[in-house]
Every structure is written in structure tokens, then in C-alpha cells.
């Protein structure tokens, strides 16, 4: 088995709000192996982005541990050593907001190099090299982000994330704001970089069809908890958790072959409850059509039904 690069153990991130405590991430554990793409899917409010932000240190964990290459990093961004920030980078969801509109593209890509102490004349060379890597022309250096297209902005954001030669990159919905043809281009670039630069990815998206094509392993989140974790092939061919099935059967697809792989139609019902007022027992029980009395009382444990395939559901733990 390959080496683990990130280990998350019993991670909790709660927010204290006016309405009460929001359990955005509630006791989740997973590992990311070197060179793989670990996909995290879930609907809005499932806590997938909070997980990524906590991993990157933008939020400080409420409880639990995060380690990177064996080093404990369960602290906020300000306390993390500078050398770590060189290795862990992030690409954000909205390319419109992830690039400062008042800075030129050169200044934007240059920033990580500047922070990590690269000399000025070398910086410019590296910025041009990075632009070439993401296939943008050199005369973009002086442009403002507001003057280029959405896909190109995301390419700039990727160039910035790669500037310091990181080993681990979190991709938070990198293509959800873009059209499919642009999405295809960006995803292919990301896959190419993973191979040539030896990167490990944490890939976050709500798009399961996309996940099918990029992830090595997939974890699915619902209301701050992981419901099912499995290698991508197994996850899509043999989904076990009722929520996974519901989600998979709701995806709109365009070809007959895809129709064939979808599980039998599970009519989706209900909405995600408010994370302030979570249901008792298994969080999913009010929307689940296999719900039993036991599900309303106890929260099921995560069990390994076959090697590498973890499911959190009472129907499988008997």
C-alpha cells in the first residue's frame, strides 16, 4: 500500500452562531495517500468545504487531529511553520473571487515566491514558466484578472498554487463555476500536473460524474459526517449507503450507458436538515427509505464491509 500523506482523525469543527452550535464537521476520519486524488462529495451544507478549510488551517479544529507526513498540523494557519505552507496549497471554488482584482497577474502568481524568499529576477522567470505550464500567453503578466475569462482565471489560480512546488493541493470545487468545455481543459491539466509533479489532491465537488473521472478514492459527506468511503470503482458500481444511492440515482445523465450504471431510481425526498438542529440517531434517517427504529435512536458506527470500503449504516453492521 502507498504511503499516507494526510491523516485526519476524529476531526470536529463546530461553529458557535446566534442560532446555536453548528456542527459543520462532526467526528470524521480519513487518510489521503501519496499520489492519489481523494474525492470528497456532498451537497451544500454537508461540511466538505469546512473539512478542506480546516485541513488547510483556515479554520482551527474544535477537536481531533490532522497530520501531514507524520507531523501534527492540528493548529491554525498562523501557527503553522512557513515551510509547511510551501508544501500545502489550495485552489478555490470561485476564480472570480480568488484573484485580487486590484493586482496584476504577475503580482498574483509572484506572491507565494516572494513569501518563500525567491530572489526578484528569478521570480519573473518562474512566473513566466508557470504561465507556460497553464498555457497562458506571456503578455498576460500585466493584465488585471477582471480582464480575462473565468477559465483563464482558474488557470492563473492553479499556477499560483503550483508556484512553490507543493506536494499536496486541495481543490475546492475548482470547476463548478465553469462551462463543461473549460472544465474538461482544467481537469485534464490538473491530472497532467498530478503525474508530472507528483502531487496528491484532495478534490472537493458536488458533481459525482466529475468525481467518477478524477478520484482514486471517494468519501461522501452528509451533515458533517462521512457516510461511505470507497475506491472510486467500488463506490460507483456497488454503492451501499442509502444516501449514496439516492444521490447517484438523482444525477442527470446524458447517455444510455450512464443510465445503465445508475442504481435503481430512489425517489429523492426531503431536504438537508439545519446543522444546528440535527436529527437523533443516524442523521440521514428522516430522508432514508430503509429507516428502522434503531436508526432513529443510535448513530451507526463506521464499518469496513470489504477492504477499503467503509460504510456508516445500521443495515450493514449486523
Amino acid at each position: 500500500m502507498s504511503k499516507e500523506i494526510v491523516v485526519v482523525k476524529d476531526l470536529k469543527k463546530w461553529f458557535d452562531t446566534d442560532e446555536g452550535i453548528v456542527r459543520a464537521v462532526d467526528d470524521i476520519s480519513f487518510t489521503i495517500n501519496e499520489g492519489e486524488t481523494f474525492g470528497l462529495v456532498g451537497e451544500s451544507g454537508s461540511g466538505k468545504s469546512t473539512t478542506a478549510y480546516t485541513l488547510m488551517g483556515i479554520y482551527t479544529p474544535t477537536a481531533g487531529e490532522i497530520s501531514y507526513k507524520g507531523m501534527d498540523i492540528s493548529m491554525g494557519i498562523k501557527q503553522r511553520p512557513l515551510s509547511l505552507k510551501k508544501e500545502m496549497q489550495m485552489v478555490f471554488q470561485d476564480p472570480g473571487s480568488s484573484l485580487n482584482p486590484k493586482r496584476s497577474i504577475e503580482q498574483i502568481i509572484e506572491l507565494p515566491l516572494q513569501v518563500h524568499g525567491i530572489a526578484k529576477d528569478e521570480r519573473r522567470k518562474r512566473v513566466i514558466e508557470l504561465l507556460q505550464m497553464v498555457e497562458l500567453p506571456e503578455d498576460y503578466l500585466d493584465r488585471q484578472p477582471t480582464k480575462i475569462g473565468g477559465g483563464e482565471k482558474q488557470m492563473v489560480a492553479i499556477a499560483r498554487a503550483l508556484a512553490t512546488n507543493p506536494t499536496f493541493v486541495t481543490l475546492d470545487e475548482p470547476t463548478s463555476a465553469l462551462d463543461v468545455s473549460m472544465q474538461a481543459k482544467i481537469i485534464n491539466k490538473l491530472i497532467e500536473f498530478q503525474e508530472t509533479l507528483d502531487l496528491s489532491y484532495l478534490f472537493i465537488t458536488h458533481n459525482l460524474s466529475l468525481m467518477r473521472n478524477v478520484a482514486t478514492r471517494v468519501g461522501i459527506m452528509y451533515l458533517g459526517k462521512l457516510c461511505e468511503v470507497a475506491p472510486t470503482g467500488t463506490f460507483f458500481s456497488k454503492p451501499l449507503h442509502p444516501y449514496t444511492k439516492m444521490l447517484l440515482s438523482s444525477i442527470p445523465v446524458i447517455t444510455r450507458e450512464e443510465e445503465a450504471v445508475k442504481p435503481d431510481k430512489v425517489v429523492s425526498m426531503g431536504e438537508i436538515p439545519s446543522p444546528v438542529n440535527v436529527p437523533s440517531g443516524c442523521y440521514f434517517h428522516p430522508r432514508c427509505n430503509e429507516c428502522t427504529e434503531r436508526c432513529k435512536r443510535e448513530d451507526p458506527p463506521m464499518v469496513e464491509v470489504e477492504p477499503g470500503h467503509f460504510v456508516k449504516c445500521h443495515t450493514l453492521s449486523e
Binding site: K85, M90, N100, P112, V115, R160
Partner: protein, 286 residues
């Protein structure tokens, strides 16, 4: 930044600014006022009338071709005094804003970025205290404690002016702080100094400039009000507020002594407000 892009940006700015004819009017008024203020000696028909000058023979003359706005009780040409008054008004506005804005902006930036920490609470509560005292009352208090001079009036206005900028920038900074580009800078390990001045500050500039332009008019109004009640510039300084105040004793018979300085206060404020709207249109969006 290469010059071609720079030129292009100015062209675009001018296009947005000039969409509203009132903005151009505002710009014209403001430019005229600034020019007149700088070259008051040249524009004024009787520059020697600005300060101490007495010509009782021509006192209280109504507007005529010789004295376009009439003369005051000492026989001084009112238009000349108004032109010199512009100089004091502008000096007042520029010095108050250039002193009040930097600390106001700095405190707002820091408080906004450190939102929900004790730094934020300390800064914003102090600002709230200043804002909760009616500005005029605060200025009157400062002026009546100190000697009534133009400088003390400026000091008083400055003291009450900075919290407006703190609050303005605080609002902008605390929302910009949540933008992904700030988080990207944090993830990469950029210093707090860089985040404050390299990332957040440039995005606040347009709001700050807009407010400054609009504020010029208000500072002048407050300065004139202080002078009007006798706590600002003292005679014979040709200050618009003082002139209105001096002339008010002769209303309604010699209405022009008060009316023309008052009218020009209105023109100044209107000019800067129209210009401010234009600046806002110009810097909006992008």
C-alpha cells in the same frame, strides 16, 4: 504597468465618469474653485480688499457693475473676499481630510481584518463613542475650550472626522477579508502587513476616494458653521462662514452681504457632491 494599459484605463474611467453630465458639471465647478483659490490675487477684482481695508464711502453698496456682489459694511468688495475665502475653505478641507483619513483608514483596516477579536472591539467601541456625540457639539466643545482660531477649528473637525473613515473601511475590510484571495494569501503564508496593505487596502481605495470627495463639501460646511457662530476663523480673515455671520446683522436691508457668501458655500458643496457621485460611478464595479 505599461503605458498603453494605463492610457486605456484612463479612457475607460473617463467614459464611465462622463456618462452623467452632472458629474462633468461638478468637475468643472470644483476645478474653477480650485483655480480661483490658487490664483485669488489674479482673479479678484480688488485683491487688497481681502483683509484689513476700509472704504466707508463705498460701504454697503448693492451689487452693481463695479462691485458684482456688492460691498460690505467696511466698503470691501464681497466677490474678492469670496475668492479669497475659497482658499481658506479648501485649505481647511484638504488639511482636515489629509490628517483624519490615514489614521481612520488604518484603524478600520486593522479592526476589519481582526474582526471579532479584542482589537476590533477596542477600536470600534472608541470610534462609536466619537460617533455617538453629535459632531457639531464635539466641535463646539473643542473650539470653546481652545482659542477660537481657524487652526483650532480644523483640529476640532479632524478629531470628529476620523471615526467615519474607520467605520467605512471596517465594513469594507471585514467583508473583503472573507474573499478567497485573502485566504489564498494566508494559505501561502503572506504576512499580515501584506494582507492588510497588499490585498485588502487596494480594494478599499474606491470607497475611500468617493467618501473623501463627498466629504470636502461637508468639512467646508462645518468649518463655515463654526466660523458663523464665532468659533472658527476670526475677522478680518475672509472666511465664507464669518462673512455670512457678519452680514446677517444687516438682513434684510443689505441682503447681499450674507447672501453671496452663503450662495457660494452652496456652490462648493454642490460641486463636490456632484463630483463625488461621478467618482463613485467611475470606480464602481470594474
Amino acid at each position: 504597468m505599461n503605458t498603453e494599459l494605463m492610457k486605456e484605463r484612463w479612457r475607460r474611467n473617463w467614459y464611465k465618469f462622463s456618462r452623467n453630465p452632472l458629474s462633468i458639471l461638478g468637475l468643472a465647478v470644483v476645478l474653477a474653485i480650485i483655480l480661483i483659490a490658487i490664483f485669488a490675487d489674479f482673479f479678484a477684482p480688488y485683491p487688497e480688499h481681502a483683509f484689513v481695508f476700509v472704504d466707508f464711502k463705498n460701504a454697503k453698496r448693492p451689487p452693481c457693475w463695479q462691485y458684482l456682489c456688492g460691498t460690505d459694511m467696511a466698503g470691501r468688495d464681497i466677490l474678492s473676499r469670496i475668492f479669497f475665502g475659497f482658499r481658506y475653505s479648501l485649505v481647511m478641507a484638504v488639511s482636515v481630510l489629509s490628517v483624519a483619513t490615514p489614521p481612520g483608514v488604518l484603524l478600520g483596516l486593522v479592526a476589519g481584518y481582526m474582526r471579532d477579536t479584542w482589537v476590533d472591539i477596542a477600536i470600534m467601541r472608541v470610534a462609536d463613542v466619537f460617533l455617538s456625540v453629535p459632531s457639531m457639539v464635539l466641535a463646539l466643545a473643542v473650539c470653546s475650550m481652545l482659542e477660537p482660531t481657524l487652526y483650532n477649528a480644523m483640529l476640532a473637525v479632524t478629531v470628529m472626522w476620523w471615526p467615519w473613515y474607520t467605520r467605512l473601511v471596517y465594513g469594507a475590510a471585514s467583508s473583503i477579508k472573507n474573499e478567497y484571495f485573502v485566504q489564498a494569501a494566508e494559505v501561502t503564508g503572506a504576512s499580515t502587513f501584506h494582507i492588510l496593505f497588499g490585498e485588502i487596502f487596494p480594494n478599499c481605495l474606491s470607497t475611500i476616494f468617493t467618501k473623501m470627495t463627498l466629504d470636502v463639501g461637508w468639512v467646508i460646511l462645518i468649518g463655515s458653521t463654526l466660523s458663523f457662530v464665532g468659533l472658527g476663523a476670526q475677522p478680518p480673515t475672509p472666511d465664507l462662514g464669518t462673512m455670512v455671520s457678519d452680514g446677517s446683522k444687516y438682513i434684510p436691508a443689505q441682503w447681499w452681504i450674507s447672501l453671496f457668501p452663503a450662495l457660494f458655500i452652496v456652490v462648493i458643496i454642490l460641486g463636490f457632491n456632484l463630483l463625488g457621485d461621478g467618482v463613485r460611478d467611475m470606480l464602481a464595479g470594474d
